[in-house]
Subunit: 225 residues, 2 copies
């Protein structure tokens, strides 16, 4: 039987590549997106496009009101998304986001009988987020095996972070090699309602530089176009 | 300045006692409840009563659609709550629930600048849930310090599980000693809309036996009364 995996899918370039990788590795992919009050909700439309294009077994979108907690430019309308580079951990950092997302992926994996979780974190172009480091992923894997019925019964969860050591250009070349159409994805933190990218935020700048470095035409639709 | 703590508050006997303990230890308490599609939503009314009675600084209720994942009698209407003892990990186990809840508490703690989380897990009367064991709590604490901006900057998170080694009777005696009115709390997994307990589910049976063992009158309102 084909092994099942839960793949966290935001609709951005990174998580779409992860889904392509998981599929290429032979997993039956169950994609999980979070509707967490993010400013850039058009990314959920991108997640749906990517999930459909890559033929996932199932795509679930879980509602979670992270705006209640606030503390991030991505969920709090009172905090602006920076349009130029900033120092240190940026205000787009959502407190404990990857921990919350991986916990939900783990819960669904338990229900499915899956032991493999995929997440598109990246320690190279990681924008300074603490929950994108290898030691963090290893700690979550350890937690997963203690947290769950499956872990108690002897299963071993594996948290796959295949982009961890890749540059943005390597991620893009990997995805292109797997047939990924990045025109389906949306990375911008401040996209307009039509899903056009601002071209200025951290995420847009990393993405645009990645296409240039990869020597691949950038399919992104920008507001300024 | 008084140190802040985030206290997970379900509205049940255990978490109410934890809140009383955290307050007694001098913390400025921020109570967090989850509206996660649980069958026993009247427990949120109990959480509000307890939070008000104990004078928390703030009480947040975060919406989270765990029913999307299913897999538990507490969130899936198709799975009945057992009315008699069962073997092993019960069907009321919600996959990865404490991991999700602690992750959200961690996120709020980061926003508040708090480093102390309180949770009412218990390894004695723990009903067979894997995420109620000391080694699980230790693993989450380790994860928290790797996951967060505060951890990166040198703060140390502490996950307090003060009920871990207590019997239900000891929990009740501790709460009574701190002035807790357990008539405000609701532990039942299958309470009616008026907040009356079924008296038969795992949670009701543990609670009722606890009051008897503690030699304290049981203030619970039961459907059969």
């Amino acid at each position: 039987m084909q092994a099942k995996a839960v793949v966290l899918l935001s609709g951005g370039l990174d998580s779409a590549t992860v889904l392509a990788i998981a599929r290429d590795q032979g997993f039956a992919c169950h994609a999980l997106s979070l509707d967490y009050g993010q400013r850039h909700r058009v990314e959920l439309a991108a997640a749906r496009r990517v999930a459909a294009a890559l033929g996932v077994v199932e795509h679930k979108i879980i509602g979670l009101d992270l705006a209640t907690i606030g503390g991030s430019a991505l969920t709090d309308p009172a905090i602006a998304v920076p349009q130029a580079p900033t120092e240190g951990i940026p205000v787009t950092y959502v407190p404990a986001r990857n921990t919350v997302f991986l916990a939900l992926a783990l819960g669904w994996a338990e229900v499915l009988g899956a032991q493999d979780l995929f997440i598109g974190v990246n320690a190279v172009d990681y924008s300074g987020y603490p929950d994108c480091r290898p030691e963090y992923i290893a700690a979550f894997e350890r937690l997963a095996n203690l947290a769950t019925r499956a872990g108690v019964e002897g299963a071993a969860f594996h948290v796959h972070a295949p982009l961890m050591r890749m540059s943005k250009a390597e991620i893009i070349r990997t995805g292109i090699g797997l047939g990924m159409d990045y025109g389906l994805t949306l990375s911008c933190y401040a996209a307009d309602a039509a899903g056009r990218a601002c071209g200025c935020c951290d995420s847009c700048r990393l993405r645009a530089a990645g296409f240039i470095a990869a020597g691949v035409p950038d399919p992104t639709r920008y507001v300024a176009d």
